[in-house]
Subunit: 425 residues, 2 copies
């Protein structure tokens, strides 16, 4: 496949990729846990053994990226070093240690007709991963898909082309070593952007698309895809400090939710403070945020209490800053807080700080977000912290998978019926 294939050539190539992925997926669906883990173990070893070749491929990518004047942040995400290689191998090994979700039968119940009915966890089939510069996604996402019995088609950014091809060789060798089909993990062998358009419109070969990257990439894919997309849009996360909050916990949680890391989707972007506690809490909390270098944008009542803050505009309530900026609003109790969150939030992660049992219960039930928390920092919303082992992404949708998506999100349940000659009357 050339870098700029003719449209018909590209279409035929993508059909071949899809068809062979579908065939390999059938083999993966019935592969034993042992074989899948053997492939992951071989992949980790191969990554370590081929470190020199991987670093060399990556150096070439970096050379082209710098020559093309790519942003430093992008170059940073593209860069592999010895530590990155070791982390990649370690990540694959960790996925091998996770319990295999496939084949588990749950809720096998006897029905009045005499049949037993339950559900078996099965792979989705073929997963398409579309990502940007990070080459470690190639190994990480492939490992999650293979462990969950799926075939995977990987389409990384063109900047990481050589790095991804080098990792693809490790994947192919590892699958072959475990007696599994190499087509179970394919890296698209062209940088032609039109390949993405094919990948997301082949429902006959691809069962789900997981885009990993910026909002622009995800919106474009979701808009054009003809297969389901596990998508992650904004994280406009809230902490609501209730009138019945413990002030120490409130300050600790609010500071952690904002300042532990600024650039993550589970970072707090808006702080809501109950009017009942605002004059006791906000002056001290404001000082601590200022000391941490966080700029505050407040509602009129906040500005009156915090002279250092500037006036928030309507747009601030729905902005994901990903920066040391925080919107602050004083609200009149729980109902106003829930209303604000359900109106302006993005349904990602929202927390209440309160000692009041009933208000905590209402917040959990009524806030419409993928994660709802009581007396904990929003920064906990993460597959590793939740015990998923690893995550393929965080879904801000309600359909199929919501919040951090681990192996289970790459599976489905089919019905199992056991009879002994039973017929319907």
């Amino acid at each position: 496949m050339s870098a700029h294939p003719k449209p018909a050539e590209l279409a035929a190539y993508m059909q071949t990729v899809g068809r062979s992925a579908r065939q390999a997926g059938r083999v993966m669906a019935r592969a034993t846990t042992q074989a899948k883990n053997a492939a992951l173990g071989a992949l980790a070893e191969r990554i370590e053994r081929d470190a020199t070749a991987l670093l060399e491929a990556n150096r070439e990518d970096l050379g082209h990226a710098r020559a093309a004047g790519l942003e430093p942040a992008l170059v940073d995400r593209l860069t592999l070093d010895d530590r990155g290689i070791a982390a990649m191998a370690e990540g694959v090994r960790q996925i091998a240690t996770l319990p295999d979700p496939i084949g588990e039968i749950t809720d096998l119940r006897m029905r009045p007709s005499g049949i037993q009915v339950g559900r078996m966890r099965v792979p989705l089939g073929v997963v398409g991963i579309i990502y940007e510069a990070r080459p470690n996604v190639t190994a990480d996402a492939a490992a999650l898909c293979l462990k969950s019995g799926n075939a995977v088609i990987l389409r990384g950014g063109s900047e990481a082309w050589r790095s991804n091809q080098a990792i693809a060789r490790c994947l192919g060798a590892a699958l072959a070593a475990a007696g599994l089909p190499e087509a179970a993990a394919q890296v698209v062998a062209t940088t032609d952007r039109a390949a993405v358009g094919h990948l997301i419109t082949m429902p006959e070969w691809v069962d789900v698309i997981v885009p990993r990257g910026g909002r622009g990439l995800i919106e474009r894919i979701a808009g054009e895809a003809r297969v389901p997309v596990i998508k992650h849009l904004d994280g406009v996360c809230h902490v609501y400090v209730d009138g019945a909050a413990d002030s120490d916990k409130a300050m600790r949680i609010a500071l952690n939710a904002k300042t532990q890391r600024y650039g993550t989707c589970n970072t707090m972007e808006t702080l809501l403070v109950d009017a009942e506690i605002a004059d006791r809490l906000l002056p001290e909390l404001g000082r601590r945020f200022e000391a941490a270098g966080v700029t505050l944008r407040g509602c009129p009542r906040t500005c009156a209490l915090l002279p250092g803050s500037t006036a928030a505009t309507e747009a601030d309530w729905s902005t994901e800053y990903l920066a040391p900026i925080l919107a602050v609003r004083v609200v009149d109790g729980l109902d106003a807080a829930i209303d604000h969150i359900n109106t302006y939030g993005s349904g990602h992660t929202d927390a209440i700080v309160t000692q009041d049992y009933s208000r905590a219960q209402r917040f959990l039930r009524e806030v419409d977000a993928s994660s709802v928390m009581v007396n904990a920092s929003t920064r906990f919303a993460d597959g590793h912290e939740y015990g998923l082992g690893a995550e393929i992404g965080i879904s801000t949708d309600k359909f199929h998978a919501r919040g951090p998506v681990g192996l289970e999100g790459l599976t489905s349940l089919k019905w199992v019926v056991l009879g002994d000659g039973h017929v319907r009357i």
Copy 2:
């Protein structure tokens, strides 16, 4: 709303319907089980009390339908009588008796960080139902959506316009009587076909579309929708009689799977018979099918054993007859059977008849269908038989819900995190 509103008027109307459904959905999400059941009880009562008005509205619909020369089958589906009214009310009462899935928290586990992490079942939000002539779907689908804490927008066929408006009045009165918002169940008040186009492209107001009707309707909706669709396409169901089958069970199951009802999606359309048992089984089974009036279309080996059968073409293996026609193929063992099913089947329901434990296990694991069965008739694939109480539809997709979809398919899981001042380190 007039029958033929101007495009701008229709667009504004559908936006109003969507927005008010979203608001009502938030109230439904936090409604108590008691309130939801009270609404369903009131709906059943109201349907019974308004029987005369419902029958009168239905008679008007039938008059127009006959005058327009609608097919008898369609007129049949459109017809309501006293028994139909009673069944509608009874169906709603049964849904009221189902356990409320909303609010249940499962798997609340302690994590090493000290937080507890679990998942809470929550409604999807707003469900759009698009259906054809049957007016009973209006009450039945609305009841399922309300019980699962959703708001619902119903769009029935224009033939059932007056019947559906009459049922809509019952719905509104029942919701009001239970103190719930009337907008939680809205019947689209126009027969303009463009309303469907709006309904399936309002992701801001509608979370999922459930089309109930023929393949044409479902394919069109799936192709144009901008929100997830729970869709049900073909049911090309198989029974595979293994060489190690008990002949009596095999004959009983094969006959039941084909002849118990011809027009249902879980009816067997292709019978696969292991070459090992074909000459013992097929002659007798063929006689029984012929006695039942079933036409057989066979592969060459089948035709040699059953002179009464005609030669099957390639197209027969993927045809959903919904009629007393059966395709029959002799295959060389389990692998050939699984291969045939995964190639030609529609992933709906497939059964093996065998006494061999290992082959049964392999069939369950390796056949890619929403229901896989051992020694049971495919006709069992049904929400009621599976213990779901009622079904909103049968999904042939793998994503989100697969197979018969009951209340659970109209819900999602959100993550719940409980801490006591916990922050991330």
